[in-house]
Symmetry: C2
Subunit: 173 residues, 2 copies
């Protein structure tokens, strides 16, 4: 999809296409539409990331809370968004053994209890062996630092999903 096509969209079309670039937060795409026209894919991406950065801390935590657990209840129930299903599946998280799933569920619960938001990771840049290791590592970090790290992961997911839609390559991930 080229940028002229993006710039020609009314807000309904734009939110239909880009509404899940930030997981379950169509508000972000709906806000970014205010910034059109976009010169290129990089500028479009910039406005998504800048909107996230401009939110008050509660809003940034809110974005994280709209994400599902990795290999969690929503995956079991089949209620993930299409994007999240694809990403978790690609990382091998749909094929865990019972032990691995239980271990992840325990770590996810500890993480949620400690930080007040779920563990978010760009699953496409990880795999089933790395996820629990990374979760255990991040679980020990100070809350303020961990919020920044989690938002950086939201931004990686956002850039990868945008690149999929635009047929472009995200730089420097």
């Amino acid at each position: 999809m080229d940028i002229e096509k993006v710039n020609s969209m009314d807000f309904g079309e734009f939110v239909d296409v880009f509404g899940n670039v930030v997981e379950r937060c169509p508000l972000v795409a709906a806000a970014v539409w205010s910034r059109r026209p976009f010169s290129n894919a990089a500028e479009l991406e910039h406005h998504f990331l800048a909107f996230i950065d401009a939110l008050p801390q509660s809003g940034q935590e809110g974005i994280l809370r709209c994400h599902p657990d990795l290999a969690g209840r929503e995956l079991q129930r089949g209620t993930l968004t299409a994007e999240s299903q694809r990403e978790q599946s690609g990382a091998g998280l749909t094929n865990l053994g019972a032990d691995e799933r239980l271990r992840l569920a325990e770590l996810n619960a500890q993480y949620r209890a400690r930080f007040g938001f779920p563990f978010v990771l760009a699953a496409r840049l990880s795999d089933r062996a790395a996820v629990p290791r990374e979760l255990a590592r991040r679980l020990r970090r100070p809350p303020a630092l961990e919020l920044r790290t989690a938002l950086d992961e939201v931004k990686k997911i956002c850039r990868l999903r945008l690149a999929d839609l635009l047929g472009s390559n995200p730089a420097k991930l």
Copy 2:
């Protein structure tokens, strides 16, 4: 539901219950959870409204863009949220004649083209005769004023939906 019950919810439960208090913007409820515990229903309501006020203008426009048209395509297709379906139905908007529906569709399109967001009105405080009249009136207003008015309607809807969930009475609507 009493406020102790609300304060006992983890963020997943809270977003399940309050996620559509602002139409299709679960991010708002997910952010408000950061403010718990709440002393009472009024304080909970305050945090929803304050979050909307604290957004940059693009975010406020984004909230409006997550709303469906009144008596629009989503009503025809049956894809409204349960809350919106109930509100539009209560105002008689599900029983319009073909002429009334066409008239509203034209006004909605003019409004979207002029302001860059859909016409939002607390349908529960209106009815099928008043909606096109109010739409035609607001269509002529200056954009900056109309943004404030539209957000005031979002807040009325938010307060009515909160009152439904909490079994309380919203004051001063």
